[in-house]
């Protein structure tokens, strides 16, 4: 298991191991975690692999310890990740708030499971968006295959470094515990993004003064910049302030650095959308069943299409609206009580009808179930 796997391009790999390998390929050299099923194989793999590449692993006393340890490591200049499952993500929300406020790049893997048991779900789709106190935007990527777990984990690191925001890889028990064939790209094929570094000496540096893209450069601890990272309202020097105008502007910028760059951040894939009358909008494992359902519908002569969202947050209103303008109806299948549907419906208000297709019994939809909904909505 030396370095990045290059001995063979193809591997038959467990989803959780693909997350670990993707992280290492992205340059992650610190991992802190707390045991929870179905995320344990990520910690186990990281504990084995990180020392081989000179990185550090620690099993912390709880999820709070884990999230703050990775923030500490990131502030010290090391790319860092933690992994948990739904109930553990609850605890991490506290630290996510700090990472948002101090613009600390971190990656959090949430392998979603139903409450109190190990069954697949999309129940955290709103928790990962809103589950932190205070105003914030989140970047959340939802893979639907083992290959995507690898690829999107790299993308998650790149986005967190570029925008200095926490990024979530929203996995699911099904994908994380599945083994599939994946192709490990050669290191030279992998794009690595690193945070911007100050170009001026400490006495001229304002750690929270953004550049054109809304993102300030970031110094590592120990370089002499002596930066204060505080959750309190802070000015461009990082100093705590009671000035509410500065507070308002700070969070305006922290939010705008994400929403002004939607086209760069939001990634998606379209299948059979060009001439579609009816479109499925979904993410994660549901996109697999949905694609099969769309193919079955096409075989029956129904012009169905699929918009698979890779980036589920931030929500790209214009992208969804432009789809709504092209189709007569949108179906949103999800493994929960129908949560993301509301967001799609909000964006499509007055343009086209949006129908929810929820399943909340610890399993994904079968393609036939989605097909039958397509038929009934035509």
């Amino acid at each position: 298991m030396a370095g990045i796997k290059t001995s063979s391009d193809f591997e038959f790999m467990l989803g959780n191991h693909a997350i670990a390998e993707g992280a290492i390929a992205a340059g992650c050299r610190f991992f802190a975690g707390y045991p929870i099923t179905p995320a344990n194989e990520i910690s186990e793999r990281m504990s084995e692999r990180l020392p081989e590449v000179g990185g550090k692993f620690i099993q912390m006393e709880d999820e709070l310890g884990s999230i703050y340890a990775i923030i500490g490591a990131s502030l010290a200049g090391v790319k860092a990740m933690t992994a948990t499952a739904s109930a553990g993500y609850n605890y991490m929300q506290e630290g996510i708030e700090f990472a948002v406020a101090t613009e600390t790049p971190i990656v959090i893997v949430d392998v979603m499971r139903i409450r109190g048991a190990e069954q697949p779900t999309h129940a955290d789709i709103m928790q990962v968006r809103w589950g932190a106190a205070g105003d914030h935007e989140m970047i959340v990527l939802a893979p639907s295959s083992v290959q995507e777990l690898f690829d999107f984990t790299i993308e998650a690191f790149n986005l967190s470094e570029k925008y200095r925001n926490p990024v979530v890889v929203l996995s699911e028990m099904t994908i994380s515990l599945m083994r599939e064939k994946i192709r490990i790209p050669h290191p030279e094929e992998i794009t690595i993004v690193n945070r911007k570094h100050p170009t001026v000496p400490p006495e001229k540096f304002f750690p929270f003064e953004a550049e054109e893209d809304g993102v300030p450069p970031m110094a590592r601890f120990g370089e002499g910049y002596r930066v204060l990272y505080t959750i309190n309202p802070h000015d461009k020097r990082g100093m705590i302030t009671g000035d509410l105008e500065i507070y308002e502007k700070l969070y305006q910028r922290i939010i705008e650095k994400i929403i002004r760059n939607l086209d760069d951040i939001v990634k998606f894939k379209e299948y059979f959308i060009e001439d579609a009358d009816i479109a499925i909008v979904t993410y994660g494992s549901e996109a697999r069943a949905a694609l099969e359902a769309v193919r079955m519908a096409r075989a029956e002569g129904i012009k169905a299409g699929l918009l698979k969202l890779i980036t589920v947050w931030p929500f790209h209103d214009a992208l969804i609206r432009s789809l709504a303008e092209r189709v007569k109806k949108i179906i949103v299948p999800e493994i929960n009580i129908g949560k993301y549907y509301r967001e799609v419906q909000r964006a499509c208000e007055g343009i086209t009808k949006v129908v929810s297709l929820p399943i909340n019994r610890g399993r994904m939809h079968s393609p036939k179930e989605i097909l039958s909904k397509i038929r009934s909505e035509m």
Binding site: F30, A32, P51, A76, F221, G222, G224
Partner: protein
């Protein structure tokens, strides 16, 4: 002429937010004397606070710093120290951060012998929020949430950290300035988990509600009169020691630190790889 220690404070951070006569200023002053006398490279120091009056020290002390999450100081410190072992990590917190919300992080960091220096201002109550009872408030004391007297027993933080595995442990009060500076210096130089408890006055809250003393000088006198050195304490009965603050350097042990142990793991992993 500027004060010779002013360069240890973050430019533009004054005036500070502390009440007149607060013990936090003394603790910050002792910390500054300690790092100055050790001639530490201040560019390699990271100071980590949580939430509360004491935890605001990193906003004034001119180093790389983390501030603003209650009790998680040592969790941050674990990541910082493992990521870059060359950094000197100072963890500054109050008794709420340390003994209540962050209690688990405290004992786990001590158990790991994480190579950081912890300075805890034990003012026996939650000062910033209005003088509520804390895990170090003496039994019977009146606070804003124990108006009929505290029914709980206080933690002996030094004993707690010793049992958890801390390898340098001291306790002083703000009436023992030279001793405190000396112990902070020894704590910073010690390899491993250093824990320095400072029992300090909070004239605005604990002094007023629990001791009936509003004058800071009266509060300091109370601290001095109620302190006994560990040598004196050895000759005293349990009855005589009740309510007394035992001060001194209690523990100094040479044990491998978390980072040193991890270096062994790194070597093993890389040997096998080759």
């Amino acid at each position: 002429m500027a004060h010779p220690n002013l360069n240890y404070l973050r430019p533009g951070s004054l005036p500070h937010m502390y009440c007149p006569g607060c013990g936090v200023g003394q603790i910050l002053n002792c910390l500054i004397y300690a790092v100055k006398e050790l001639d530490l490279d201040m560019n390699k120091v990271v100071t980590i606070g949580g939430v509360g009056c004491t935890s605001r020290i990193p906003a004034y002390f001119n180093t790389d710093a983390i501030h603003g999450i209650h009790g998680r100081n040592l969790a941050f410190a674990t990541g910082v120290k493992l990521a870059n072992p060359e950094l000197s990590v100072l963890v500054i917190m109050g008794d709420g951060d340390c003994a209540a919300i962050g209690g688990n992080h405290l004992i786990q960091a001590a158990r790991r012998n994480l190579d950081v220096t912890v300075i805890v201002n034990n003012n026996m109550n939650y000062g910033m929020t209005g003088g509520q009872v804390s895990p170090t408030t003496p039994t019977g004391a009146t606070t804003t949430t124990t108006s009929r007297g505290n029914i709980e027993k206080p933690f002996d933080l030094c004993k707690l950290v010793e049992a958890a595995g801390g390898t340098f442990i001291s306790r002083w009060t703000t009436a023992h300035i030279p001793q405190l500076i000396n112990s902070i210096k020894r704590g910073i130089m010690h390899r491993g988990f250093s824990f320095i408890e400072v029992v300090a006055q909070c004239p605005t809250q604990f002094g007023r509600y629990a001791l009936g003393l509003r004058d800071p000088v009266e509060n300091l006198r109370w601290l001095r009169e109620n302190s006994v050195t560990k040598t004196q304490a050895e000759k005293m009965s349990e009855e005589e020691l009740r309510g007394k603050i035992i001060v001194g350097d209690f523990v100094e042990k040479d044990e491998p630190t978390l980072v040193e142990q991890y270096e062994v793991i790194l070597k093993k992993a890389q040997l096998i790889q080759r």
